[in-house]
Amino acid sequence: MYKILKAEKLAANIYLMDVEAPRVARHCEPGQFVIVKMDEKGERIPLTICDYDREAGTITIVFQPVGASTTKMTEMKAGDYFRDFTGPLGCPSEFIHEDLEELKKKKILFVGGGVGAAPVYPQVKWMKEHGIDVDVIIGSKTKDLLILEDQMEAAAGNYYPCTDDGSYGHAGMVTTKIEQLVEEGNKYDVCIAIGPMIMMKFVCLLTKKLEIPTVVSMNPIMVDGTGMCGACRLIVGGEVKFACVDGPEFDGHLVDFDNAMKRQQMYKTQEGRAMLKLQEGDTHHGGCGQCGGEN
């Protein structure tokens, strides 16, 4: 059992938790993820490691309710326990193996979208700790959905918030901000983009044109997270890769996003059913016309 030490609502639809998991905290690196399982009957849910404290033995996760399991997770409080918490899984970000002096010469741009700001944060923090100032663009639909602003401001060299509706920061999508920064004369050696697949796809289309090598963090459907099931397979550079062991970070210019997005839709209908069951609880006994009545 893994104890929740802190549970906080960061924004309308985004939640943060600190969880006690000493083995994971001792070995994790930026870029890796964990799989959590709430209780006996819950799903295995992959979540990026957003921060870690090796001494305290804790891991920070940030999540957004998407389907039935993540929605139930929002009700968990400090003092509650996860039944299972596995990790660290996946490969660490490549830059941690790079020569620090070489890395310091590079100009790095981070792009986070929505809840993707959370996995961007530990990487930006790592850079700060190693004396590297990076540019960070974080996009969200509206001001109220921007998360980790203070932390990001403190860790980034330049921090550029963007909102789709123009309620705060740069008005427009993250891609328009990238274009603007490049037009202003910024020359980036590498871009690291983490967010919804659709955002990563458009960032990659742009950075390909601008010739900026780009790393993305893929979040396909997963089951075990150890290479055993193949559910997480993606096409990268024409080859099949398993995101949980070969990734989750890949060269964004090689990822087949259209295939990945189609695969992510796979459980839409089943998931819709699980949501219906959750909302209606015991009163849902078929006849809704949505689930064929067998539930």
């Binding site: 083995r23 994971v24 001792r26 070995h27 399982k37 009957k41 819950g42 799903e43 295995r44 039935a68 399991s69 039944r83 299972d84 918490f85 596995t86 990790g87 660290p88 899984l89 089951v223 075990d224 150890t226 290479g227 055993m228 099931c229 193949g230 559910a231 397979r233 993606l234 096409i235 099949v240 062991v245 295939n259 189609k262 695969r263 839709q265 796979m266 459980y267 089943q270 998931e271 059913r273 699980a274 069951k277 539930n295």
Partner: protein
Amino acid sequence: MADVLKRVPVREQDPKVRATNFEEVCYGYNQEEAMEEATRCLNCKNARCIQGCPVSINIPGFISKVKEGDIEGAYKVIGESSALPAICGRVCPQESQCECKCIRGIKGDAVSIGKLERFVADYALEHDIKPEKAEKTNGHKVAVIGSGPSGLTCAGDLAKLGYEVTVFEALHELGGVLVYGIPEFRLPKQKVVKKEIEKVKELGVKFETNVVIGKSTTIDQLMEEENFEAVFIGSGAGLPMFMGIPGETANGVFSANEYLTRSNLMKAFDDSYDTPIAAGKKVAVVGGGNVAMDAARTALRLGAEVHVVYRRSEAELPARAEEVHHAKEEGIIFDLLTNPKEILVDENGWVKGMKVVKMELGEPDASGRRRPVEIPGSEYDIDLDTVIMSLGTSPNPLIASTTKGLETNKRRCIVAEEDNGQTSKAFVFAGGDAVTGAATVILAMGAGKAGAKGIHEALSK
């Protein structure tokens, strides 16, 4: 008196009924039936059946106890050689192991050794007969990686010798393939697997789930930082293979591992669990082994029409005969001498069919079986919404790639001595599917036993 040439029939769920549920197919013998079947054993002096059993159970020994009605005594005899008899009695390929050597089989049916073993083991589970525990620990710490049959057997044997054993398991449940692969209707999880694992716990073995060796920690760290004096690797062969044909990443194409894991481990078939499964209406399972049969029969129970697509003929099907027989009874359709060429995909990225080609058998290949060759111009399309790839598995490279000095062969299997499990690294032992590639439960158990022996010898020096 019944015909001694015929075995006492075993009661089974009606095929029509069982095709719609996940209850166990075979009910097993009751004591009366078991005692009657036991009388068919000739108690041979030079019992050939024992040579067929990879862990050399004293078969005539335990059967004669059954004959006398001393079931507890029979359990003790089996317990000398096997830690998981309720499991082996159900899933061993007896027809190619113990039973195929039985003298009774020359003229008539072989003695039903597996069903008798199952009866004895179930009796012990029901009557809570426990294995004997070591009197005190010897202070030596051993780590076991993986809680499949090889790891469980190795851990149990070492605990009986007094070692302090901790088993590290990557998943959230214990049992390896026994829980995530083999379905409920063949091997009940609560009634059998959980209880057999409880017995290993009662021997004093500690278990830590959710620990992925190579990620959460490494073998070198376990030995250097946590003072484990020896390690047994029983991490199995869990990596699924795909064919590499067009359309394989479409929605609706699964590895058998994913399909079975969703159903067995995550209990997707049970509405009270959250994990979804795309059941499918018309399903093709590609392959012909035990895993393919399990995936096919699971899909059938979830309501699909199921075709097993296999490139050789019926005689070469690698699955246990009993499973093929059960699958046919339940209504699985076998498309033999047929091989997929391409998976056909609709505009939304979902499977809509499969292009296949007919095959014929040519000259024998390296495996000694006749090589299937395509019949030119025989391609045709079948309509489908789900394809399950069951082409075999290989060991996960995670452990080998994170352990200094651990040698593997070109099939990515860990190199280890057969009789004691010793690997190329001192105090590190290995066995089961991680060493042999995908094999059987009983061979994995045998390797776990050998590993325990090897570790005991190494630490007693």
